[in-house]
Amino acid sequence: MHLGETIPQLETRESESVLSQIHEFNVQEKSKNLKDLAANGIDKMKSIFQRLNIKKAIKSFFKKEDENEFEPIDNNNEDISESKIELNEKIEQEVGPKVLLEFDTLNISSIKSDIYTYYKENHTGNIRKAIVAKYPEIPQNKIDIAVNRAITQLSEKPVKEFKSKIATQLEAHDIFKEDFAKFWQWRLKNLPPTAHAKFVHTDTGNKLQYENFISDAVVSKFLDQHTSTLPDEFFDEIDEKDQSIHQPIKTPEPTPTALEDLEGVDNLDDLGNRPVYTSEDIDNVFTKELNEFTQSDPTLTEADFINTLTNQSNGWINTQMYDNISNISTKDALIMLGNINSELKPFTRTALSDMHNTMSDETIPFGTFLHNYLTNDSIFSKKDIHIASDIITKLDKTVTLSKQK
C-alpha cells in the first residue's frame, strides 16, 4: 500500500466518527420525538424532505464532493430556463403532428401530408405562419382552431395536474368551514376574480364541486402565466400525488365532434341556427347553483347569492380579461365565439344567436355591444351574469391564444 491510499482512509475514519456521533444523536431524537407525537395522537409520518427535487440537488452535491459544496436549487433561474426550453422543444416536436390530426377533423386531410412536409422543410418555430404561407386558401380561423387544439392537447397534462394541485390545496381548506373569513381571504389572494363567484356557492367540504370553480378561466390564466415557467419540481410533486384525487372531480361534459363544432361558423348568418335554450334552462342552472350556495351555509339567502354574483360581475368588468376582449370589433368577437361554440354554455349559445340578430353596427367595440346587449340599467340580471361570465372567460382565452402566435 502506498501513501496515496493511506491518507484518504484516515480521513474516512474521522468522517465515520462524526457520522456515528450524528447518527446516535438522531436515534435519541427520533425516539423522543415519536413518543411526544404519539402522546398527542399523531402517527409516524413520512419526511417532508422527501421530494424528488432534493434528489437532483443531492446528485449535484455529490458531483462536487471534492469541493465539499453543493449547488443550491434555484427554481427562479436555471430550472425555469431549462423548463422553457423543454416546453418549446416539446411544442416543436409534438404540435406539428397534432395539428395534422386536427386537420383531419376539419375534413381537409387530403392536404395533410403536404402541410407536414412543408412544415418540416420550412419550420420557423411557428407552424401557423408556415401553414398560412403554404395554404392561404384555408380560412385562418380554421388554422387557428387546429393549432389551438393541438396546443391544448399538449397542455392537457399540466391542466390536469393543476386541477389536482388546486384540489389538494382546497382539501386543506375543509377547516375553513369553521373560519369562513380566513377561507374568503385565501381565495381572494389565490384565485383570479372570475373564479371567485364560483367559489362562493361551493361547499368547501364537497369535492364534487371542485370542478365548478376550477373553471376554464382559472386554468387558462394559470397556464398563461406559468406553464412556460413551471419548474420541474411542480411536475415531480404532482407525479407523487395520490391519483385518487382525480376521482372526486366531475368528468367534463362530452364535447361535440370537431365537425359539429365548426359546421357553418365561418358565416355569421348561420349562427342563428344554433339550438335554442329557454329562460327555463337558465333558471334551472340558477336554481341549482342557488341551492348549492344556500346549502353550504344555512344563514345565506337568495339575496346574498344575488349580491355576491352582482358584485362579482362588477369585478369582471374591471379585470384584465374584460380589457382583453372589450375593444375587438363585435363582428370579430361573434365569429370567434361561433368558432368555440361547443365550449360555451347552452344559454350562452342562445344569447349568441340573439346577439347576431340584434347587431346593428359590426364595427363597434365588443365591450360596448356586450354591455348594451346584457343590460338596460346598471344592474345585471342573473341571466346576464351567467352569460357575461361565460363569454368573457372563453373569449379572453381565445384572444390570448391568438395573440401568443
Binding site: 468522517s15 427520533k30 409520518m45 413520512k46 453543493f70 436549487i73 386543506a172
Partner: protein, 102 residues
C-alpha cells in the same frame, strides 16, 4: 417552501464530514429529514390554537404518507409555517454544531 431542500442540504454542508460515500450521505440526509419533520410537526402543534388542534392532528395523520399534501395543508393552515420551519432547521443545525464541539 421552495428553498426547503436547500436548507436541508445546507445542514450537511455545515458539518465537516470529510469524505464519506454517497450511500452514507443519502442515509444521513434521510435521517435528518425524519428528525426535522418530527420536530417541525411538534413545534407546529404547539403553535396551533387549542380549538384547532384536533383538526390539525386529524389532517396530519390523514396526510402522513403524502408529504406534499401535508406541506400544502401546513402552508395554508398556519400563517407563519415557513418561519417556524426555518427556526426548527436552524435549531437543529445548532444542536449538531454543539454536538461536534463536545
Amino acid at each position: 417552501m421552495t428553498s426547503l431542500e436547500n436548507k436541508l442540504l445546507s445542514i450537511i454542508q455545515d458539518i465537516d464530514l470529510g469524505v464519506i460515500n454517497e450511500t452514507k450521505k443519502l442515509s444521513l440526509l434521510d435521517e435528518i429529514g425524519d428528525v426535522l419533520t418530527e420536530r417541525i410537526i411538534l413545534r407546529l402543534l404547539n403553535e396551533v390554537p387549542s380549538e384547532k388542534k384536533d383538526v390539525f392532528i386529524e389532517k396530519i395523520n390523514e396526510h402522513k404518507d403524502n408529504p406534499n399534501k401535508m406541506l400544502l395543508f401546513i402552508d395554508h393552515f398556519i400563517d407563519n409555517a415557513d418561519e417556524i420551519i426555518d427556526e426548527e432547521i436552524e435549531k437543529y443545525k445548532n444542536d449538531l454544531k454543539s454536538l461536534q464541539k463536545q
